[in-house]
């Protein structure tokens, strides 16, 4: 308990530090100026999202193979966290785009595919809500999760082959890319901070799901014992009557 509180405080401090650094420490970008600072949270939320979804993929496969409910719990926690990070990314993106390019949104390939990703994982949650039997819920959503994850590189690839309005990636790829070293350090700090927040929330959600499963197990035990007790009582009554 204490350890978790300690870790939570450390991570909270980290994110404050990252925020401060992003707003005040990082140098001003020459064309986009202050608005560019959103980038320090925009990119990390993508990284966090992608990591969460990789874990979901692993959890989905692991569930189908082992049938252990903890993997189903891991999957649902990961999807919820992934959707959260994706939402942050989809909100910070337009906030950045509007002052810089004058438009909130454009249907260029990369944005569109991210939007699709968001829809896919929300559909995952919707599917779970519409399935009643817990085992079916777990196995069918795992199957859908696997298909969705396999779709991600295809979506990305189709986007790369298509024209895009996104700026040349600043970190890697393309000519003229490169980053001021101080910007790089701030970015790294933000990536770590956001990643830690994501992991914290992920673990908490996972724990919550495990607790819910445990409650179900206990309820099951109670019911089966009371059923046994009542059938025992009935057979005694039956014997007495005879």
């Amino acid at each position: 308990m204490k350890a978790r509180l300690g870790i939570t405080i450390v991570i909270a401090a980290l994110i404050f530090l990252a925020g401060y650094a992003a707003l005040f420490v990082a140098p001003d970008e020459k064309t986009m100026h202050a608005v560019q600072r959103i980038f320090y949270f925009h990119l990390p939320s993508w990284i966090a999202m992608f990591s969460a979804l990789c874990v979901v993929f692993y959890a989905n496969i692991a569930y189908l193979i082992t049938r252990k409910r903890k993997f189903d719990a891991l999957g649902v926690a990961g999807v919820e966290v992934g959707v959260m990070c994706c939402t942050i990314g989809l909100i910070t993106g337009p906030l950045w785009a509007r002052p810089v390019w004058g438009i909130w949104w454009t249907w260029d390939a990369r944005l569109t595919t991210t939007f699709i990703l968001w829809i896919l994982y929300i559909s995952y949650l919707l599917l779970r809500g519409l399935l009643e039997d817990p085992e079916k819920k777990a196995s069918l959503s795992a199957i859908f999760g696997i298909f969705a994850f396999l779709d991600v590189p295809l979506v990305y690839l189709s986007n790369r082959l298509w024209r895009t309005q996104h700026p040349q990636p600043v970190i890697a790829g393309g000519n003229g890319s490169g980053l001021d070293p101080l910007m790089g350090k701030v970015l790294l700090l933000c990536v770590i901070a956001v990643f830690c927040v994501m992991v914290l929330v992920f673990i908490d959600r996972y724990r919550l799901e495990l607790l819910r499963n445990e409650c179900d197990e206990l309820r099951f035990e109670i019911e089966s014992r009371s059923a046994q007790a009542s059938s025992l009582a009935a057979s005694f009554a039956g014997e007495v009557n005879e």
Binding site: A109, I116, L120, L127, L130, F144, F147, L154
Partner: protein, 224 residues
Amino acid sequence: MTTARAAGILLGKELRLEFRSRELLSATIIFALVVVVLFSFAFDPTAAESRRYGPGLLWIAFLFAGSLMLNPSFSREQANETLDALRMAPISPFAILLGKMLANFIFMSIAELVLVPIFAVLYNISLAGIVWRLVLVLMLGTTGLTVTGTVFSAVSAHARMRELLLPLLLLPILTPLLIASVESTASLFQEQPALDRTWVAFLAGFDIVFMTAAWLLCDYLLEE
């Protein structure tokens, strides 16, 4: 019994069922036609615009119609729990899935064969000289649609609101397919038609990835 043979027998059953009533097929064709016509109210295309927007419109019509047509694949088996009878038979689960995929592919292809000429007429697009290449693109796109659609039909058959759920699950997954099919078709509709190898290869890749996933996951998909 080999998977292929069992799938063939089941394909025969699906075809027999459908061609007896032809309800699904006719509804699919008419629905796709309605989508195509509706678009003409949205904009009045010149020849150049038709060539530009036509492929997108065509494939959207196919996707919408397809995702409605795919629903009954597995929900039809729920009436008398005939899926249990198939699962009890000494055939692999993949044979059951494959039989339905092949049937859906054939139905969808028939719908497309009817729709493409009508579309060409309505939007004044000449199909001369590109027919075989167009058939290739249609086949690759339809394969992706039916493979994923049949799998998701099995998934959504167990859920509430399945008529809405299937398109909801399917259409986002198919966006790469949509992009690739539209681009391939568009390059064929140009003044100088050309088969865009990159996109065709992409389509083939998409089909292979999801067919493999379906094959690997079919046991889990069909079990109780």
